[in-house]
Symmetry: C2
Subunit: 408 residues, 2 copies
């Protein structure tokens, strides 16, 4: 079966050449965080548009304070008081100063501000006992953003700082990629819905929740969840029913090579293309990945732990691409183990764990049951995957491990 | 004014002794990720409840294969076929095996499974040409979770892996802390709503969006946003109007010691307590923090950058506490600078930046304009704050910097 093998990056590249990104839509600022930016965010103006004072104090011409000392202070006549939001009315001329409050625009002619705490003052005069250099305490126009400045490129996840930046540019909306709509179809006659009595031999359908939650965390909208019996024709019918309304279909179960593995057969029945052929892809085995009507059919394992790991790695990369992200692959890392890990000689082992840092060093803490295919509880503490090489039987605390950081 | 000073942790401890956590509510599994767990999540059963096969193959008694080799294979009679979801009907007896599919429960008497690829078989018999040790390829009951096992403690953020774990425990709902409801009131006569024409001397109200987005990212529900004029009585009225309907009030502006700094006066008018007095708190200067009717009044700076940094650090800690989180303080880090940083001698400088890792080392990339009080664009690339000591004027790429990792 293993006619070939691809790296994660190679396999992703083959599929992302075919799979389209979602179109874009405008959303109000408050709804932007967590969405994928659908435009290059470029400042179209100077922010702030005027020079202003960072403090409560006095706006003046620095040259007026030449030679000022405690024993020979300079006294300037106060022209006006300028508050934040005010328009300065009186241009400064030599020998004059304006009382100015935090955030207020400096008046024409002003090239420096002194904090009021460092002066003595009356309503009419301010006395300064030191030299104030031109440029002191004046926030220049454009301090925050300059016209033409690239702030965030299309395809990035929008962090919570962006709505305020957009507001500074007088924007009320921003262009984002539409969330990919997904139908999640779980197959397997052994599956029982949570909360129902569990007959002997059956298991609860956990992937319905695990995979749906991961999809949502990667920015998808899980538009439909359904189940299908272990029957290729029924699975094909279910896929065909949802496909027109979604951007991709995710199934669980029926992807091994055994007698009751029907998802691959269902994809074939529908005439889906398999650009990866039978090639081995890290973290994606077993799975059944094909493309139908330019949409992704992602057939995950029926083993809940295996399905989750495929979703967190290769699946996440494909989902991010469809959702408009530029960075789609999990990041390669190297980290120091905080505890021991056992593996099996002769087989590359994927280890679940969580990352932290200590004194500047990245650390990898193996999750409790760190690799069994059927285990999902250790995914609670899993934001990284480590790789134990085939020739290694065990690693100790302090050893270094290579792997991937999983990210939203 | 600086009668005293507290560390972030000390100041947070003083306030969290007074501020109550929100009560809890039940939510369906799909809505749990990103919420704060309101119960200790403990397994109440074994998962899986039965021993099962990880592969398609044959369930057998390991002892039956004693001495089996290629030249002297063992042939066992096939009793039945067991699929995932089936109940095994026939207990194994010596000389017998059951065909078994991935995930199916092993029949009574079985202590090992062989993969079908390593056998030769007919409908009635299976021939095995090697010794199969008891315990091979049988997933034990309780492999994933054991009754009484602590999975995630109250007060943790719920990661997307949790709904599947809950489903495995037959849960349909989970107890979470109610999202803190917040009223955000922006003060400052210089503020103009985004999208409106901007008169000279005015600025757009960016904190309305920045602070609201941060609050939402920390798990709050921003129930109200409003503005108030630069007038202590009007600000007090606005606070008093929203206070009964929310868990906390956040204001921006009016917290410096200058002439038009009215939020402190408004809090005093309402009789709010100030357990921190005039003490200096890192990242929280200037701000006006008080408590009224056991609720937090968080008065942030009118400088949008300063307000954001206070919100990301001390504000976030208080908000997390109210929302039920156990870990509330930003994490202390040490990281290697990827580029130079300039500072001012005589003053501890906070530097914005983003974290990454390279070959196991934590790295800190300073954001473009990394500290100006009025700058918000550099917050786009800010998930950490570095601290440049007062006696340091500049740092170079490769130097180490101490600071805090900001987290959701």
């Amino acid at each position: 079966m293993k006619s070939d093998s691809y790296s994660l990056a190679e396999a992703a590249q083959i599929l992302t050449k075919i799979l389209k990104r979602t179109d874009t839509e405008a959303v109000p600022l408050d709804l932007a965080p967590g969405r994928v930016l659908g435009e290059d965010l470029v400042a179209d103006r100077m922010v702030p548009p005027f020079a202003r004072s960072p403090y409560d104090g006095y706006a003046l011409m620095g040259g007026d304070t030449a030679g000022a000392t405690v024993s020979a202070p300079v006294t300037l006549a106060v022209t006006e008081e300028i508050r934040a939001g005010d328009v300065p009315k009186i241009p400064l001329t030599p020998g004059h100063a304006a009382k100015i409050l935090t955030g207020a625009p400096v008046p024409p002619g002003c090239d420096a501000v002194v904090k009021y705490e460092t002066t003595t003052f009356t309503d009419k005069n301010v006395t300064i006992s030191r030299v104030v250099a031109p440029g002191s305490n004046v926030i220049p126009a454009g301090e925050d953003m300059r016209a033409g400045q690239m702030l965030l490129a299309r395809g990035h996840l929008i962090p919570p700082a962006v709505p305020g930046v957009l507001a500074a540019l007088s924007r009320r909306e921003v262009c984002v990629h539409r969330k990919p709509a997904v139908a999640l179809i779980c197959t397997g006659d052994e599956l029982t819905e949570t909360g129902e009595p569990l007959p002997y031999g059956k298991i609860y359908n956990t992937s319905r929740y695990t995979i749906a939650s991961y999809l949502e965390s990667f920015g998808c909208r899980v538009a439909y969840t359904d189940t299908a019996p272990d029957n290729a024709a029924a699975i094909a019918d279910t896929i065909a029913r949802y496909l027109p309304d979604v951007d991709m279909i995710v199934t669980t179960g029926g992807v091994s090579v055994g007698d009751y593995d029907k998802v691959r057969a269902a994809q074939a029945l529908l005439g889906a293309a398999t650009p990866l052929g039978d090639a081995y892809v890290p973290f994606a085995s077993p799975s059944a990945i094909s493309i139908l009507a330019d949409k992704l059919l992602l057939g995950l394992s029926g083993n809940p732990g295996t399905a989750a790991v495929t979703m967190l790695t290769f699946g996440a990369a494909l989902v991010r691409h469809i959702g408009g992200r530029q960075e789609i692959l999990p990041r390669k890392i190297r980290a120091q183990l905080t505890g021991p890990v056992k593996s099996k000689i002769g087989r590359t082992q994927t280890i679940r764990g969580s990352l932290s840092t200590e004194n500047g060093t990245l650390r990898f803490t193996p999750a409790g049951d760190y690799y069994a295919n059927g285990v999902i509880s250790s995914l609670i503490h899993c934001d990284a995957l480590g790789t134990v090489p085939a020739e290694t039987e065990a690693l100790s605390a302090g050893d270094w491990i290579a792997g991937y950081e999983l990210f939203i």
